[in-house]
Symmetry: none
Subunit: 216 residues, 4 copies
DNA sequence: ACACTCGGGACACCCCGTTACT
DNA sequence: AGTAACGGGGTGTCCCGAGTGT
């Protein structure tokens, strides 16, 4: 149906505007009137595209999740090594979290989700699975110690990153997020890399940070 | 005055009931009618004790913060060593986060606070300061390496713990929080303790966990 | 509680205005804004007194039922004979149905009730019971044939009256209701009164009509 | 045009589905989305065939009226005697009122019509005219007393039947409608049939009931 | 031309957080 | 400490035309 061209556009517009408002005010404080005004779309159209405020929020979460997870796909296609991939991911995600409204909104809504719906778990689980993969291939090339519990590590990195990003938001509006992510890796790497690689890997976080973000 | 005694009691009752409702439904979805019903107090009385819904939520946050921070005071008075103190704190707090309604509500509201008020930063800063203190005295007794940036470490532990607790809530309703906190320390200690102490400190998280919580 | 004086008054005011609007527009077409405007009461006050639009409608039905059923109580206290009582009731009720807004509204809502609530049955059952009583005492004094099934008769009179009133409303706005009720009795009495009383009872409907209503 | 064939079919499908929904929920509580879902037709198509929700309801009323009135036409063609015709009609209509969705919906809407449109009067008037005809031919063959006011009788039977059916719906969902219609005639016949015919006509309602409906 | 997607406003109901008067 | 009243939106969703394709 070619006619959906307009519809797709409208839907995307609503989603973007909704993300902006959600990101600024949170789910509870956002009214559909706000979204309607921000998107320049009437509530009728809004209702046509999304069944409810909750559905709209979930759609934003979903969009964010897709947008973020696609960062990972790119890495795999570029055939990056495991440890580099993990670090690249974290910094690219940090950049999204600073600059991409949809991602910012999605993350915020993910955390507030228990206010309006069942808690959202898939994103956390997906990220954990992705990092498990990175770790495994890092072990294969000797960047990460054998015998480590990759499940446990992944199950720690994701929450740690979540918390780092959350507190960075609360304290500085995420202005310091690159520093904080860099430190995350510096405190975590000693538990991961084998002693003999430490010399060459201890500086990796900073190198990758600059590779991804620059001096910023 | 005897009259004030009852007033204090009523106020505390409201606060407890409000915490229970906030914890279950979140700020936005909680109505004063809910609180009124849960506490068995009329809305009039409710407004006599708290100026507004927001004030009520902030009072819950405050109560939680006091309740949690007082855990730290007890440690100082018991003159625990720095590293032990840090670990004890984390597990005791984990226990509160599992079992204490006011604390659970307070944490939830702290994170939702940006929905209805300026973001709450003091708790994070207070915790960071406390952990800096623990780390400094840990360095003094040789449990933590010299030359480490205690500010940076504290600035990582607090977010990491925050994230761990948050994701544990989302995925398991905090049922696995003790495991997650134990792992947090296991992945973090290698970056903190000097090599020569590793043998005796690597098992510390598990020991303290059992000391505080038992097999649970 | 003396303070409720104001509340009672307000409530009654709302009920009366609501009846007027319901009577004119029906349940579905009546908005709470209409009621609010008609009663000069804010929607907040309205919500304070009635939990919902449905509750308001049911309250109107209830008020009508009380108002109508109390006609019957008066008859009993006046110790009217059974047949006279039945006829008096029907004409007095007819008058209410023409002139009393609350009654008109209540009847209308009773019929529309299945649109918004479980069908209302009590009024019908109450009326049937009342008429059974009248018939029994009419039999006792010989105005109604023995051996008649009073339950069946009551179970016919009430629907018949209901229909007469309903169609009179649809066709003439109840302008002709007295004529119609008179005829109802004229077509029904032959099945009820014993042959030997026919001479003196055949004119009873008209006599009672004039007694209650006058020439109108 | 073949094209219209399908249009007619679609229209009929909508009408049937709409009747089902109206019958179940009433006019006010029925949304066009409901009808659209029930009929498997998009709302757009729905508006193509009917100008408005009200028009749709009126079309259902109309369909019901046609369907019911055609019962009468059949009788005339079968050349039934007047009194038999009247009784046959009433029982056949009762059967429709129990079993035919369109008829049930139409009747319900007829009564609710004043909620959304001018009161519907034609059906009542048509029925009254039909019954006047039956009565007149009944008088011609001596089944009904001469000198009776056929207009008045018809003007009573139709409302009485309406009420009987209405209350039967409210109290039993029309499960007892055949009993109630039978009784209607038993209480009415004494006023209609001449004394000398009473012996043979008093059992007529039951006989016709069984003829039309069976033991049911 | 028929059919339908898409979008448009308009309220309706609910009820919420809050104040005035006892 | 409490009853009563207050307005103000919030979400849902309804009924209905423009616009678009088949």
């Amino acid at each position: 149906m070619a006619r959906q061209a307009r519809a797709v556009e409208t839907r995307a517009g609503i989603l973007g505007s909704a993300a902006a408002v959600f990101q600024r005010k949170g789910y509870g404080a956002t009214s559909l009137a706000d979204v309607s005004a921000a998107s320049g779309v009437t509530k009728g159209a809004l209702y046509f595209h999304f069944d409810s405020k909750e559905a709209l929020a979930l759609a934003v979460i979903d969009a964010q999740h897709h947008r973020s997870i696609s960062l990972g796909r790119a890495l795999v296609e570029q055939d990056e090594s495991g440890l580099r991939a993990a670090l690249l991911m974290s910094f690219r995600l940090a950049r999204q979290l600073r600059d991409d409204t949809v991602v910012r909104a999605g993350i915020r809504l993910t955390m507030e989700a228990s206010s309006f719906s069942a808690p959202v778990r898939e994103p956390y689980l997906d990220w954990m699975a992705a990092f498990e993969g990175y770790l495994r291939s890092a072990i294969a090339v000797g960047d990460v110690r054998e015998g480590i519990d990759v499940g446990a590590v992944a199950h720690f990195i994701i929450p740690a990153f979540t918390g780092v990003q959350l507190v960075s938001e609360a304290l500085t509006g995420r202005a310091d997020i690159y520093d904080r992510v860099t430190e995350l890796w510096q405190f975590l790497l000693p538990a991961l890399v084998p002693g003999e690689r430490w010399a060459q890997l201890s500086g990796l976080p900073t190198r990758i940070r600059h590779e991804v973000i620059g001096a910023d």
